[in-house]
Symmetry: C2
């Protein structure tokens, strides 16, 4: 048997009913009588008919598909956001195509092209760390396609962003460390080309400033915050004088830094306290458990998707930024007492 051989025309011929009627019947159009519908769907089943979505999408110019581009699916935050996106999308009868940019600009560009070529109805994207210009996105948006940014906002003028208050969360984490008596807090920051990491860095600085602590450039270590960066950063931190706490802009780097310091017999939090960001599951398992910030990832996915559908249904392209509230999760890595 050949690939997806059966078409509405096969059904049409077998029954002597025009293919337009077959199409309408399969789409449950009121223009087809009940009796005919039954005959058609019975025959469709008999022949193993499987609609060709490509043809349908081509004709209707509607794919009922949204594209999602994220840095990597293995991060809990993104996996959870995708869950939120999929739930909302499937309820609305939309399919979701998940793509990972692996934080590569080139790949992100290609993915956009592919999604464009496949005529997705809209895109939800968390831009890659490498992305510093937005030409590839502008071109897409110029076509009038809706595009929602989440987690990592897009800096250019008019965009729809769904983010958390990174500044505020970062401020709270830092202040939490300060309240617990830590004075020389190193910050592992991400690429400053990205607004998200800029904001987290600003929050850190603002907290120091509020409490009249000095802001020292060398205490801000910039990297891509991958696992290996955490170790490198930890080494750098050890070479700085008096460091008694490290606040990492993501959990990944915090975890590997902690592992490294533990291997060097440095006590956490007694000698160096820790805080991370994102609440990856592993942060609850490591000892001491890692103080971090929980982002409402699932909700973010839902919100982003709903906004996308709003824009699609009302054919508007508003440029609002929606800010969701993160929560500080205090665990054992950041308090001098009470460490079980």
């Amino acid at each position: 048997m050949h690939k997806g051989k059966i078409t509405i025309h096969d059904i049409s011929k077998e029954l002597g009913i025009d293919s337009s009627t077959v199409s309408r019947a399969l789409n449950n159009s009121p223009r087809v009588s009940k009796k005919t519908k039954e005959k058609i769907s019975a025959k469709a089943k008999e022949l193993g008919y499987q609609r060709n979505s490509l043809a349908s999408k081509l004709r209707t110019n509607k794919t009922h598909t949204i594209g999602v581009i994220i840095p990597r699916i293995s991060r809990h935050f993104f996996a959870s956001a995708i869950a939120g996106i999929e739930e909302t999308a499937y309820d609305a009868g939309y399919d979701v195509i998940i793509c990972q940019s692996l934080d590569s600009y080139e790949r992100e560009q290609k993915l956009i092209e592919t999604l464009l070529a496949n005529r997705v109805d809209g895109i939800i994207i968390s831009i890659s760390m490498e992305t510093t210009n937005y030409n590839h996105l502008d071109r897409y948006k110029a076509n009038g396609f809706p595009m929602i940014f989440f987690d990592r906002p897009c800096e250019t003028e008019k965009n729809t962003n769904v983010i958390i208050d990174d500044f505020q969360a970062s401020f709270e984490v830092t202040e939490h460390l300060i309240f617990n008596g830590y004075k020389n807090i190193v910050h592992f920051s991400g690429p400053q080309t990205n607004l998200l990491y800029q904001n987290r860095c600003k929050g850190y600085k603002a907290a120091l400033k509020k409490h009249k602590y000095p802001i020292r450039k060398e205490y801000i270590i910039e990297s891509k915050l991958m696992e290996e960066d955490g170790i490198e950063n930890a080494k750098k931190a050890l070479n700085l004088p008096n460091v008694d706490a490290i606040y990492s802009a993501n959990d990944m780097a915090a975890i590997s830094a902690m592992q490294y310091l533990k291997s060097q017999n440095i006590k956490i939090p007694e000698q160096i306290a820790f805080a991370g960001f994102s609440n990856e599951p592993v942060s609850a398992v490591i000892e001491p458990s890692l103080t971090t910030v929980n982002q409402p990832s699932f909700e973010m996915g839902k919100v982003a998707t709903n906004i996308l559908f709003d824009q699609l249904n009302n054919n508007t392209r508003e440029n609002k930024t929606t800010i969701l509230e993160p929560t500080l999760i205090i665990r054992n890595s950041s308090s001098k007492t009470n460490n079980n």
Copy 2:
């Protein structure tokens, strides 16, 4: 501006060149002169032409897309397998559509339908835990589409599977525990409808048998091995006499069980030793670090994809099972001595 408005016909009109020539030029056909190609691609760029893949796929009956269905993207094993799949696929000029079944049979069924409707060239799947019949898959395969099963094999007669030697790995884990002096080993098993968990269970039993240890039904606790199951299972294990080790058929349940036991002040591995399966990253971070089995996930993805391409290119549908070798990773949760 309207959606993806520019077509080859627009270019055709503007230049007074037939659309067939435009199409050939854009596909770099030798039938079009260099000069014309240049004119066309310049105009295409100028107009912001974006090929409509849907039309192309419809016409050629080739989508250059493969579908991947896995239980969940958040599992490290699957994320890593996907990396292997994507790398291989992209090198061959194929797109990949990732879908998660969330271990639901119903969802898996729908996903197959969607992929079918979108005429993917082939499917790579790790079936859901709930899946016990294969009608939805058979129907797909009956159409002559290639389908590769990985990790969780398909039991029905003729299939192409890429799996690891679960029996052997499980046997080794269990024997490792036995060698370390553990005598009453509980096994957390997954749904026995799934060959994978059957094999892991068999390996466990075989090791006990070899060393003349009794196989006790109540020592085999079956569940879906989710996080919450680990806790439940741990409670059950505590009610059994003399339990001194737990071997869980996945890391997830092992980790949550360990966390629970630790909260009950039970010493690991002194009182109860642990071993898991899959080598989730968290298993290296928990204390004590968890002995587990590493599956060559990335390689599995690559192998599965290459087999798929073989079948596509040679138009064969062989039914081989490829078995990859897992490795036992011995950490601190399973040895009575040397626990740092």
